[in-house]
């Protein structure tokens, strides 16, 4: 969709541009400037790339630690999505930040119902006291192993830190364990949960 108005006063950084390019690789931008006299674009190309908006936003968040106005405008220009529409998406999700990052890592601690019972509230206070940049988070989907923590990092993949079952049941998570995970860039090992319920049930793997 052309006729877009890009209002950001700053341009996207090199890192942001690279991140968006990687996120849309395989499809490429909507507009192809084949030569100075031949350009392809149009609604078909735009519609078949619309699903790349979220990957592009994730890529911007990871690369820069936030979704900057310049970065957002750049993603919108590549995908021909109106910036206002993209901003609506970007501002909806807790894990997308809209101010420049104040720390390299943001420690998201789930304080939803299950994790709260596992002491998330206290953990948040302790982590802050140790100088981490902490945000209370909506459910991170690790409810049996709470309190769940996700460390969102700039320029690196996210880390997950949860309680571990040492044979005697799940323990809790301490600030020290969080610090070790960040320092060594290690997520808590993932655990495969056994299939429960009727054997007729099928896991719907592979759905787009």
């Amino acid at each position: 969709m052309p006729d877009l108005y890009f209002g950001a006063t700053e341009e996207a950084t090199e890192a942001e541009r690279t991140a968006v390019a990687a996120a849309i690789a395989g499809f490429g931008a909507v507009t192809i400037r084949e030569t100075e006299r031949l350009v392809h674009a149009g609604r078909t190309r735009t519609r078949e790339r619309r699903h790349l908006l979220l990957p592009a936003l994730h890529a911007l968040q990871r690369a820069a630690g936030w979704i900057s106005p310049g970065g957002l405008d750049h993603a919108c220009a590549e995908l021909e999505v109106p910036p206002a529409e993209a901003y609506g998406v970007a501002s909806f999700y807790h894990l997308f930040t809209h101010e420049p990052p104040t720390a390299a890592d943001t420690v998201h601690v789930c304080d939803d119902v299950a994790c709260r019972l596992f002491g998330a509230g206290g953990l948040i206070d302790e982590l802050r006291a140790e100088g981490h940049h902490v945000k209370a988070s909506p459910c991170l989907g690790q409810c049996e192993r709470g309190p769940a923590i996700m460390v969102q990092r700039t320029g690196s993949p996210d880390l997950t830190v949860t309680a571990v079952d040492d044979g005697a049941g799940y323990g809790s998570v301490t600030p020290a364990e969080v610090a070790v995970a960040i320092a060594e860039k290690i997520s808590t090992a993932s655990v495969t949960l056994p299939q429960a319920g009727s054997s007729d049930l099928r896991l719907l793997a592979g759905w787009a």
């Binding site: 006729d3 400037r33 006299r37 031949l38 392809h40 149009g42 609604r43």
Partner: protein, 521 residues
């Protein structure tokens, strides 16, 4: 869209076009610039200014080479096909690419896409007609529709987008030097006789002059007086210096207008007119041949009067005082009796049906959603349609070492023509006063964005601001003509005329850009 920037110049029509796109239609835009319209396109082809006939011939030759022509339609509804095929034989994809600047593959894709589409329309405006080969340009497009049968049936066809809300209506009503109301020829004795009976007068049996011929006649001192209604030639004529000199030679210039235009300023008499779309009852006819009712919403201000009344009083003052007083409805009902294509459009039907497309010969006729359906009757209804062997001839204002850049004039969304109607309100998107130039040309000339320069052609020189446009084709410059008081671009434009239409080649001037005297590189 060929030579049309509908996004800017026909925004309402463009909404309809975009609905087609939303429903899956493919859109090609053929334009030297990647305009706002082109940005919506699946494919934009940036051809050289004035190379449209070449592109059309190249497309046609490729359609034939690929066997995609509609043999049945050609055999039954057309003439001149064999001659046309030989005539366009030199226009291979490679040759066409060399002449137009468009990659050969793109020409091939366009040709195949057009020929194989179930329904296809070619829409054009001034990019096609404002050339010294304007009529030939149009005929080269008609050839494509005849070649493929994309004419005379629903959804396919040839669509010239008219430039004012009622320019179609103006011509339909006979405000043309060679036509009476309803496209009947002045030089047709039978038609003329019918009007003479209805109007109780004698009508000259020869065609009059078109606008270009009128200016030539002014130059010969043959045309001494002009009654100018709703036109601003002081600002809108190409080679403005020359045109203004001619207007100054008139013994009498009467201007009838809504605004005090720069033409009105030099007039001997000015008749302030009511504003058609807000202050008058009547009809207008749009690009789809639809006649619609217009209704007065407010009375005209001050001394402004209905144009019909002004003309009526002028006739009486000239001694012809038996016209009587009449309402727009009465005028319309008389018109229906002399114009067969409007015959069935009663005032009530226009009101009730929200407009009717001509031809509508009888009151039970619904109006005509497309033309030329007769070409699909077997045997063909009426005359066969001819292929036209038109020559590709580049713009007359040639590029040279002295004038190495190609200037084309364009339109912005929120301004209109010479700015008379649009200059009085502020706009957040007002644009088009500057001369847009490519990054390479700016660098080569040592110019920076925003710099003031002298722009010259073989006809004159003006001062303009430069705007560097990142993806503009090297060698191409553009500007609007919406700001004549600050950027009098028609001092630069070429008045090379199409002898068949009288239209000037506004789209192709040769210019030079110089730094202002005293400025440093």
């Amino acid at each position: 869209m060929w030579g049309s920037n509908a996004r800017n110049a026909h925004p309402i029509f463009f909404h309809h076009a975009l609905r087609g796109v939303a429903n899956g239609a493919r859109m090609w835009v053929i334009d030297p610039r990647r305009t706002g319209t082109a940005k919506f396109a699946d494919h934009w082809l940036g051809l050289n200014v004035g190379s449209d006939i070449g592109l059309a011939h190249g497309m046609a030759r490729e359609i034939i080479a690929a066997g995609l022509q509609n043999d049945e339609f050609i055999a039954n509804a057309t003439t001149g096909y064999e001659e046309y095929v030989s005539f366009i034989e030199p226009w291979t994809l490679e040759h066409t690419s060399a002449v137009t600047g468009v990659p050969a593959e793109a020409i091939r894709d366009l040709a195949h896409g057009y020929a194989m589409a179930d329904k296809a329309q070619i829409c054009w405006t001034l990019g096609i007609t404002e050339h010294h080969t304007g009529v030939d340009n149009v005929q080269s497009l008609c050839n494509l529709s005849l070649l493929t049968g994309h004419v005379g049936r629903w959804g396919s066809g040839l669509v010239p987008l008219r430039g004012q809300n009622n320019v179609q209506g103006g011509g339909d009503m006979g405000a043309l030097p060679n036509k009476l109301t309803g496209f009947q020829d002045v030089e047709d004795d039978e038609a003329r006789a019918k009007f003479e009976v209805a109007w109780g007068c004698t009508i000259p049996s020869d065609n009059g002059w078109n606008l270009t011929q009128m200016f030539e006649a002014m130059g010969r001192d043959e045309l001494k007086a002009i009654y100018c209604i709703g036109e601003n030639p002081v600002d809108s004529e190409a080679d403005a210096t020359h045109a203004r000199a001619l207007l100054d030679r008139l013994d009498m210039l009467v201007v009838q207008d809504v605004f005090m235009t720069r033409t009105a300023e030099i007039a001997d008499v000015v008749f302030p007119a009511a504003l058609g779309w807000a202050e008058s009852d009547g009809t207008v006819t749009n690009s789809e041949r639809r006649v619609q009712r217009m209704r007065a919403a407010v009375p005209p201000p001050g001394e402004a009067r209905q144009e019909v009344d002004i003309i009526n009083d002028l006739a009486a003052a000239m001694g012809d005082d038996d016209w009587g007083q009449f309402t727009p409805e009465q005028l319309w009902e008389e018109l229906r009796t002399v114009s067969p294509m409007h015959g069935g459009m009663s005032w009530e039907r226009l009101e009730a049906e929200g407009g009717i497309q001509w031809p509508c010969p009888t009151e039970d006729h619904p109006g005509s959603s497309f033309l030329h359906g007769r070409l699909w009757e077997r045997p063909v209804g009426g005359r066969r349609a001819p292929f036209s062997c038109v020559e590709d001839r580049p713009p007359l204002d040639e590029l040279s070492d002295e004038y190495p850049l190609r200037l084309t004039t364009v339109r912005a969304l929120d301004s209109y023509n010479t700015g008379v109607q649009t200059e009085h309100f502020a706009s957040p998107i007002r644009t088009g006063e500057a001369l847009s130039i490519s990054t390479s040309d700016a660098e080569a000339l040592g110019l920076v964005d925003g710099e003031r320069v002298t722009v010259s052609s073989r006809r004159g020189s003006i001062t303009m601001t430069i705007e560097v446009e990142e993806h503009l084709a090297v060698g191409l410059c553009h500007t609007t003509f919406h700001f004549p008081e600050t950027t009098d671009i028609n001092q630069i434009t070429s008045d090379a005329v199409d002898p068949k239409s009288g239209t000037a080649e506004f789209k192709a001037a040769a210019i030079r850009i110089d730094k202002l005297v005293g400025a440093h590189a």
